[in-house]
Every structure is written in C-alpha cells, then in structure tokens.
C-alpha cells in the first residue's frame, strides 16, 4: 500500500463531512437551549424533549410547574445512586430489577435532580414546557381504540376513573397531572407497572388506578396515548 499523504487526506474527509451535513440538519440544533439541557437532559430526553427512546419520557409540552414538582420529588425520593451502591456493598445483593428499567431510570433522575442547581431545574422545566410535542406514532388500530375508550370512560366495573378527568380531554395535562399525548408507549407501560409494584411514587390516585389496570389494558392505553 502506497504511503498516502494523509495531511491532505484529513482535510478532505473533514470537508466532505461538512458538505454532507446540511442534508442531515438535526433536531439537536436548537439555538437558545439552556446549558443544562444541551449538556445534560438532552442526553436522554433530546434537546427538543421528544426522546426517540421508547422507555424515556417525552418532555416537550409538559407543564413547567409539573416538571419542577417532579424534580423536587426526585430530590427527596431516595438515596442518590452512589450512596445506594455503598449500602449494597454491606448487604450484597443483585442489581435492582424490581420494577424493570423504569425504576433504574427513576434512580437516575434522583441523582440528576440532586446534582443540578435550582436555577438549572427551572431553566430545564421552562425550556421543555416551551417545546412543541412531536406527532404521535401510529399503532395497532384495535389496541388504540381500546385505549381510547379506557382513557375517555375509565372502567366503571373496576372503579377505574376516566384518565381524561385528570389528564385532560386531549391528554394535554396540567400542573397536577402530566401531559400524556404522544408519550412513549414503553414509558407509560413501565410507569404504570411501577405505580402498581411500589409505593415509592407519591401519587395515591395513580397507585390506586394502577392496581385495577390489567397489563393488556395498560398496553392499550399506552398505544392510544402514543398515537396522539
């Protein structure tokens, strides 16, 4: 192989990359995003709050007061991860799997909420509240239809309240209850499972609702909400 003059090679590659780039204009390039969002939250939630990961919640369009309240809850919820890990050394145990990934994600947020300042928490909440939610994703029509019915009417035979009574007719949410329209389905399913499995979530209403919700019904609700 001939010994290439790579001094020419590197700039050529760099130039080629820069020429190609405009075709891939990213959702990440949001002027004005606060540093806490650019360097921190966006790693999982995206700069525009429309996470592509199905088990990470979409934050775009959530009520700012709700986000701040949620972060405040994380700060007081449990031990931060490092301390938790140290305690595990004393009582050697397996990695936590009691409520799947959602619990792990919750632990992540406990640490994050403790690591950032009050100003940053407010800045992140305001930023994501101001973002435009992405369009929902399509799913199985039958499942979506079942979920729509559950959301609108609840399940009276099981004493299940209509979701829309708190989350809004369009699942648009409020300061008290989060926006669910367009929310990632896996996240919703996991979150409901978490409500059912643990009392760590400070929401008696959702804990009660989740107790009456079958797994298939949770999937139907999630499919409907994701499609909004």
């Amino acid at each position: 192989m001939k010994d290439l003059n790579w001094f020419r090679f590197a700039p050529v590659l760099a130039t080629a990359a820069l020429l190609i780039v405009p075709s891939a204009r990213a959702e990440q390039g949001k002027r004005g995003a606060p540093a806490i969002v650019t360097r921190y939250c966006s790693g999982c939630h995206g700069v525009d709050g429309n996470s592509q990961l199905s088990y990470i919640p979409r934050l775009a369009g959530l009520n700012a007061g709700y986000i701040e309240r949620k972060l405040a809850g994380f700060r007081t919820a449990a031990s931060p991860p490092v301390d938790e890990a140290l305690s595990r050394v004393v009582r050697i145990g397996s990695a936590s799997t009691d409520a799947g990934f959602t619990h792990a994600a919750t632990v992540h947020m406990v640490g994050v909420a403790r690591a950032v300042s009050a100003e940053d928490r407010t800045a992140a909440a305001d930023w994501y509240a101001s973002q435009t939610p992405a369009r929902g994703k399509s799913g199985k029509p039958k499942l979506i239809e079942e979920g729509k019915s559950l959301f609108a009417n609840g399940l009276q035979s099981q004493g299940l309240l209509a979701c829309q009574s708190c989350h809004g007719l369009e699942a648009q949410g409020s300061e008290a209850a989060p926006r669910l329209a367009g929310q990632n389905a896996s996240y919703v399913v996991n979150q409901l499972a978490l409500f059912r499995a643990t009392d760590r979530q400070p929401s008696p209403t959702m804990t009660a609702v989740a107790q009456h919700l079958e797994r298939d019904q949770a999937r139907a609700l999630a499919a409907y909400l994701q499609s909004r």
């Binding site: 590197a10 780039v21 204009r25 390039g29 199905s54 991860p81 050394v89 799947g100 994050v112 300042s117």
Partner: protein, 453 residues
C-alpha cells in the same frame, strides 16, 4: 543459533503486553457518577464499564461538563472528584510451562492482586473537564506506579444556522484514549485482560503509545452526528511529563516520539430510537526513535489507517452491541534496518478486531470477540527457531478469540470470567516455540473481581 525462544523471549513478549495493555486500560469513573448523580449504567452499557452508551459518549465529548463541579457557585453537596479502583483474580493457563519446564505463564492458578488506581475526574468549569488516573500495577514481579489515561478538555457549543456544533480542545496521553467508541485500540474488546495472559508479538503503533505521549488537538461534533478531530502527539516529556509519570524513557523499551506526530479521526453516527450506528476512520503517522534511551538520529515511521464501525441496540432489558475495526499500518524501518534490528527496510501490519456484547438488564454481560494480527515476516523481530537452530517462523500472525461473562454484583463491583483462546501464535498453530508447544497451550481462563468507589 540455539535457544532463540527462551524465557527471556517470553518475558519480553509479556512485558510488551503489560507495557501497552495495562496502562491504557481505564475504568468506570465513580467521581463522574457523583458529579452527575447518575448510576454507572447511564454512561456504561448494562453498567459494565468501559462500554459507552450514547449519553456516555456525549458526556465525554462535551468535556465532562454535566453536573456539579468543585468550583460551582452553588456548593450544595459538592462531590469530591476522586475515586479508587482495585482488581484481583486468578489465571489458569492450558500449559503454563514449556517442554523444558521453563515457565511461560507465571503464577498459574494463584490468587493475585493486579492493580490499585486512583483517579481525579471532574468538571472544572462549565466549559472544561478532566480525568486522570494513576495506577499502581503488579508487574510480575514487583509493583510499579504509572500514569494511566489522562484527558483534559475544553468545549464550546455554537449554533450556526440552527445546527448544533460542539467544538473542543483536547489534550491526552494516548492516541484514541480520547475517543468515545469501543472500537478503537484503547477501548476495544477485550476491555480487560489478565496481566498474566499472553498476546501476540506485534500490535499497531497507534495503540502502543499509552502513557508515553502527550497531545494537543481540536475536534468538532456537528448535530451529534459528524465528528472530525486532528491532534498532534509528542513524547510525554517537559510540559507533558505528568502524563507519563512513572515511565522512564531512559530505561529503554519505550516508544519515544520524534517531534509532533499527526493523528486524525472522523466518523458519522446516527441514533434512531434504541438503535445507533457508527462508521468511522482514523489514522496516525508516528515517527519513533528505535531506542527511547537515546532519542536522536534516524527514526522508524509507522503510518496507520484504521476503519471502524459499531451497531448498538439499547433496549430496556436487552442490550446488544456489535463492533468491528481494521487497522493497516505501514512500517518504514529506516532506523532499525540500519541498526540490524529489522530484517527488512519496510513492512506492514494488519489488525482486525470483531466483537459483540449482549447485556441483560444491568446484571449480566456476555462478550465474544475475534482478533487477527498479521503482517510482513521479519526474521529480526519475530523469529522462532528450534533448539537445534532450525527456523520455525518469522511471522507476527496471531489469531485468537475471547469469551467473557461479567456479573455486576453492584454497580461498584464486577466479577469477570474470561477465556482467551489462540488459534495461531507467531504465525503457527503447532510448535510455536520450536519445542512442541501449541498455540492453544497459551490459552488462559481468568477469573477476576473489580471494585470501583
């Protein structure tokens, strides 16, 4: 010539392995976990370090600037930016001794402590971060303290035309230690190896400068998709001396760079849902003095061209990563050939590394990898002869595989079981030492425990 393959030869191979393998390895960084409030699994796939998740990659590229720093105005709960690591275990070899009962793989089946490492890793300001490790390692025999990975970054975000452009300045002490992909030499599988295990007689120079070089470089990441970098490496002396603490160039056997040596890197990556892909290229031209104790006169020149790719799926429970890399190196032995230390004036070396990982939740991780190194024959560098002096091989070709299972007891404690198998060693499958030893006699099983706090 008789007995060219001797204990000394084995020791030199082992030392070579130790010299570029141990120092370049780095570990999960507990102080970053404290700084960001995250668990290890936020940055490391399945919590098993050092494989990086998309967030882990971005955290590194953005200069470790997420979270709290020592110098933040809000001092609430400021974390101490230090951490410690330790590793111990046992290694069993298929055949620890050669036909003349000389030890090839030492301390077979005996419990050993391998290393204790201290780290300083922290966000310094909103635009600057650092990580540095100092490792005290078991050198078989004796213990020695050396600089581990060092990486200092300063970054700034620009927003030209609605795009996001991250521009960074970086200084580090090992080509590819600054990289975020587990395909490059410093971070590729096997991520850890027993210091007692053997590896082949040759490896590309781009992966052999750890703790011996210092760099300055710039990089840019556009829309978190396109990355370009140019760095220049020089011998870690003078201003860079702290990056090679514990390493003595005067003792010889090191890679002492002549002047500033260019390194470049470019890749494209795309994330869609839980899937991400990367295709990249990298390279370096390194001018190295043949004798590090006497850095003057003619040099050998190593030019590397590398290509790498990765696919990753990070589901909530199941996580899969597939990796591949290929490095082609041209070698101009301008100095060594004149001195009679190379049998040819030019040569080449090729290194292929293919591996895959499956992680189940944050508890179990399974790895499998295949390695192939081949290149020009060189009777001055790779010659093996029988005790009677008959030539056996002059090839550097070594092929093998690694199978590994990791168990995260907690996010701070990891147990590893690794089997390393060789298909060829020094270009041959059988009679690799001229005395009847097979390549598979170098196979090892390694059980180790690793803690990080």
């Amino acid at each position: 010539m008789r007995h060219r393959f001797s204990v000394l030869h084995v020791a030199s191979v082992t030392t070579l392995f130790l010299s570029f393998c141990l120092p370049r390895q780095a570990y999960g960084l507990p102080s970053f976990a404290r700084q960001t409030g995250q668990k290890c699994s936020a940055c490391h796939v399945g919590g098993a370090w050092p494989q990086l998740t998309p967030w882990g990659r971005f955290f590194k590229l953005s200069g470790y600037t997420a979270g709290k720093s020592l110098f933040d105005k809000n001092k609430e709960g400021t974390p101490l930016p230090v951490g410690i690591f330790g590793q111990a275990g046992m290694t069993w070899a298929a055949s620890p001794n050669d036909a003349q009962a000389q030890t090839v793989i030492d301390h077979n089946g005996s419990p050993e402590a391998y290393q204790f490492t201290g780290e300083i890793a922290t966000k310094l300001t909103n635009f600057m971060g650092v990580f540095y490790e100092y490792q005290v390692g078991n050198m078989f025999p004796g213990w020695k303290g050396t600089s581990g990975p060092a990486d200092v970054r300063a970054v700034h975000f620009f927003h030209p035309g609605g795009n996001e452009l991250l521009v960074g300045v970086d200084s580090n002490n090992s080509p590819t230690v600054q990289d975020v992909w587990n395909t490059v030499p410093d971070w590729s599988f096997p991520f850890y190896s027993s210091p007692q295990s053997l590896s082949g007689p040759a490896s590309p120079m781009i992966g052999s400068l750890g703790g011996q070089s210092g760099s300055v470089g710039v990089y840019a990441l556009l829309n978190r998709q396109f990355y370009v970098e140019t760095s220049f490496y020089r011998a870690a002396t003078g201003f860079f001396r702290w990056m090679s603490a514990g390493t003595s160039f005067q003792a010889g056997g090191k890679n002492y760079l002549d002047g500033y040596n260019p390194y470049w890197r470019a890749y494209w990556t795309k994330q869609r849902g839980a899937h991400s892909v990367m295709v990249g290229a990298l390279g370096m031209r390194a001018r190295v003095y043949p004798d590090s104790s006497s850095p003057s006169g003619p040099v050998d020149t190593f030019t590397d061209y590398g290509f790498d790719t990765q696919y990753q799926h990070l589901g909530s429970t199941h996580k899969v990563t597939l990796r591949g890399s290929y490095i082609y190196e041209t070698r101009a032995w301008d100095a060594s050939f004149l001195a009679g230390n190379s049998a040819t004036p030019k040569g080449n070396l090729k290194a292929l590394n293919v591996s895959g990982t499956y992680a189940y939740e944050n508890a179990w991780t399974f790895h499998a990898g295949y390695l192939l190194t081949n290149g020009s024959n060189n009777s001055a560098l790779y010659a093996i002869t029988t005790p009677e002096g008959d030539p056996v091989t002059t090839s550097p070709k070594t092929t093998g595989y690694n199978l590994e299972v990791d168990r995260q007891i907690t996010q701070n404690i990891q147990i590893m079981a690794q089997y390393r198998g060789f298909l060829e060693f020094n270009g041959v499958r059988h009679n690799i030492d001229g005395m009847g030893r097979n390549a598979s006699d170098n196979n090892t099983f390694w059980l180790s425990v690793f803690f990080a706090f």
